[in-house]
């Protein structure tokens, strides 16, 4: 984990993409919501 922890600090470096992890997660959730709303995704079982 030392390596894992150390490498977390990589997060501080400028990201290659202007989109953050949060922004991608929000985008995916919104796209899925739209697909459900317009009926492309009919039913998600659990």
């Amino acid at each position: 984990m030392t390596r894992q922890l150390d490498s977390r600090t990589e997060n501080e470096k400028p990201a290659a993409s202007k989109f953050s992890l949060d922004a991608w997660a929000v985008t995916l959730a919104l796209v899925l919501s739209i697909l459900v709303w317009i009926g492309w995704i009919k039913h998600i079982p659990w």
Partner: protein, 360 residues
């Protein structure tokens, strides 16, 4: 925490090479999560078939335990780590989708109560952790990182603060290890204490959201109690996450003044950069659901999508926890963190009992 290598490199919609890097770990998350779901059903079916009264062990616990066993016995091969790191992405997507299960009015009411409690909790936790760090002779910046990690939102807050106050890599590693170890312990202790005290779903959810540090552990600890408790826990934690920018800004200004370095230029831009954007996504989906845009079946589908996303997260919580590696990080930060966490757990429990009338 697994493989930050991964977390920093991972960007959805990247090239095929990146997708190929992510795939093994993602499949492992899915396999462990689904195994948890399968075991929950099988265990329950076995009890019914043999007329046995077995405890109902939720898929959440199975998934975490399977992940813990893998991570601490065989270990997770490097090829899986980029994919494992996506657990945080699924957590955030799951929280946004969870917004569909809230009416905006409830979000504002419960979120408002949470924000008041969060403000009290943050102020007292920061003061207590700072005093504790001084008493144990920890380095001031390590104390700052531990204080921020335990009062706001765990690893994300530590990483954000580390950059803002220019702390050592070693300090942030210590703080992250302590906060993660304590989060893993709290995940199992909170539901037991909640049941022992006979707490309502709302009160317990609020307590878990205020008292546990990492969002993934909060979600899991809530789900271990009940579905309703998980909803409240996520909402309270989301309110807590929203405060991250203000606290990090405060510490950035404090350390810049103390060390005579250049302070923060544009404070509004700084706050926006540190603000967790998934909170906005959560509010948008909640507002859309409140406007009755979705049918009942569609709301069920969105709720189930959120559950699938959390399933991957819970698997990640277990798979990223390496107990042997945590031990190597040293005892003192862990002791300070543990004492602080116990105090914060009691403090937040008192706050929740105090606010319980408002929750009804």
């Amino acid at each position: 925490m697994a493989s930050s290598l991964a977390l920093s490199q991972w960007r959805p919609l990247g090239n095929f090479k990146r997708i190929a890097q992510i795939l093994p770990g993602l499949l492992l998350l899915a396999a462990v999560g689904y195994a948890g779901k399968f075991l929950e059903r099988s265990f329950s079916a076995y009890g019914k078939a043999h007329h046995l009264t077995l405890p109902n062990i939720e898929y959440v616990l199975w998934a975490i335990v399977i992940g813990l066993v893998i991570a601490n016995t065989t270990g997770v091969p490097a090829a899986f780590k980029p994919g494992l790191a996506t657990y945080e992405f699924w957590l955030k997507a799951g929280i946004v989708l969870l917004g569909s299960r809230f009416l905006l009015g409830d979000v504002l009411k419960l979120g408002g109560i949470s924000l008041v409690l969060v403000a009290i909790e943050i102020a007292l936790s920061l003061l207590f952790m700072t005093a504790l760090g001084r008493a144990f002779g920890l380095k001031p910046k390590l104390t700052t990182l531990l204080a921020v990690g335990s009062s706001i939102c765990g690893v994300s807050a530590i990483i954000a603060t580390k950059g803002a106050i220019d702390a050592d890599d070693e300090d942030s590693s210590f703080a992250i290890a302590a906060i993660l170890a304590l989060g893993a312990i709290a995940l199992f202790i909170f539901p037991l204490v909640g049941r022992w005290l006979g707490m309502s779903d709302q009160a317990y959810g609020l307590w878990a959201g205020l008292g546990i540090d990492n969002t993934a552990e909060v979600t899991a600890a809530g789900a271990l109690y009940s579905d309703a408790a998980a909803k409240v826990a996520v909402l309270a934690k989301t309110a807590r996450n929203a405060m991250i920018g203000f606290v990090v800004l405060g510490y950035a200004l404090y350390w810049a003044r103390k060390e005579g370095t250049e302070g923060v230029g544009n404070k509004a831009a700084f706050l926006w950069a540190k603000f967790p954007k998934f909170v906005l996504g959560f509010l948008v989906i909640s507002a859309v659901a409140t406007a009755h845009v979705f049918s009942k079946d569609q709301l069920t589908s969105l709720a189930n999508l959120s559950r699938w996303a959390f399933l991957l997260t819970f698997a990640g919580v277990g798979l990223r926890t390496n107990i042997a590696e945590m031990r190597k990080q040293g005892l003192r930060p862990f002791v300070v963190g543990a004492l602080g966490e116990v105090a914060i757990a009691f403090l937040t429990l008192g706050l929740v009992f105090g606010a319980e009338k408002l929750l009804r």
